[in-house]
Symmetry: C2
Subunit: 243 residues, 2 copies
């Protein structure tokens, strides 16, 4: 399995045709896009192309946002944007705000992020529908690939972020091994594997944080083409022990 980051994508502007830019960069870098590839695209450039970027100077924070911002030492305008993206607060403690977004993702600051966007007062939001974004990129690529929109999330108990799949198209992101047997004939009981999150993390290893490598191509990972949705990776609240 080979993982290659694309290094020649231009700055992404609102309305950019990501598939076209990805094909051009992959061509220029002599990698190309082939059937069976997994194309991992960071949330940041998808959000930029979809104009999910907010200039904080245009935001008038509510009294509630002002109050929370004082408590949590945030920019009240950014706090206002976080409120708009939040369905439910999961934890507020130690300077951290962990939200459930209206999509159902649980992450810091409802995914509202200041890094890797141009301008000091600019924040980036998650795409409105990352599965839809992935499907569109996949259709525009015109090749039978899997597409993953990745983002950087923290997690309980363990330090450091990993990459997860917030949008998926072209394959099932969650593989169910229940009922299959292991090498000794033991029937696996509970094994479901978050394959798309693992692919996102593999891609993340070639996308350095401080550089402009927003797309990776994974070649040589075998999967069955089919329908897919990143929502498959969101645990049903009724089955979640850590709500």
């Amino acid at each position: 399995m080979n993982v290659v980051g694309l290094r020649t994508l231009p700055e992404i502007e609102p309305g950019a045709d990501l598939a076209k830019l990805i094909v051009a960069a992959a061509g220029k870098e002599a990698i190309g896009i082939e059937p069976g590839d997994v194309v991992v695209v960071t949330q940041k450039i998808v959000s930029k192309a979809e104009d999910r970027v907010v200039d904080l100077r245009s935001i008038k924070p509510s009294a509630f946002a002002e109050s929370l911002a004082r408590t949590w030492e945030k920019d009240p305008r950014q706090m206002e944007v976080i409120l708009q993206e939040t369905r439910r607060f999961v934890r507020m403690d130690q300077g951290m705000i962990i939200s459930e977004t209206y999509h159902g993702f649980i992450c810091a600051n409802a995914g509202v992020d200041r890094s890797n966007v141009p301008g000091e007062d600019v924040v980036c939001l998650l795409p409105v529908d990352p599965d839809e974004s992935a499907s569109r990129i996949r259709a525009d690529l015109g090749v039978q690939v899997a597409v993953i929109i990745s983002d950087t999330f923290g997690r309980p108990w363990r330090e450091g972020t990993t990459e997860v799949a917030i949008g998926v198209a072209g394959f099932d992101p969650l593989w169910d091994y229940r009922g299959r047997t292991d090498a000794y004939g033991y029937v696996l009981r509970s094994t479901e594997v978050a394959v798309a999150d693992m692919l996102a993390s593999a891609a993340g290893l070639v996308m350095e944080k401080a550089s402009r490598v927003p797309v990776a191509i994974i070649r040589g990972f075998e999967f069955e083409p089919g329908e897919g949705s990143g929502k498959r990776l969101l645990r049903d609240p009724a089955k979640d022990l850590f709500r």
Copy 2:
């Protein structure tokens, strides 16, 4: 970055010299082990080599284990072993037992697992000290590589397991980008990346659950050789919002 699974390792017996077997398999498969490689070894074969395998027929469950096993519909002997590996229960609900092991890992059943071990009444425990296991394998390999002992953990909020690094040798598993600037000059504030967990997940993609690919070689991932410990990835309980 290239990720290759080793397919010709033999069945691992207690006392096996894993480094020697890995070098032999990598040689036979024309991959070899080169300086700068990351060698990812699944917990299961490390535990087998270290004889961390328990025949449940030798276990006499305590009254407490019997009682818990009735409630949670587990084998009372396996429950007894789980108790022995547990420092603290984090959650018991919906048929799931989430333990903190005496090492500090938070995972299902304190890492006591029935899959991929020979014999119907046999369970496998985590290595006593996975960092020590990683260091020993690294020293025995005799090449300047990074070694990761990986295991399969679930996580809150998201379906499916991913691979994590429970033991690390030869590099820092947690990379701190705080204070660095992004492509636009914005100073990153909170970015620490769990690089070793992402490497474990990348390796996991070539280690199918139902087959015998217990080692992967990652080549072309740049890292600075140095000290390392999987404990760096365990969050300080005082800073954990999800204890």
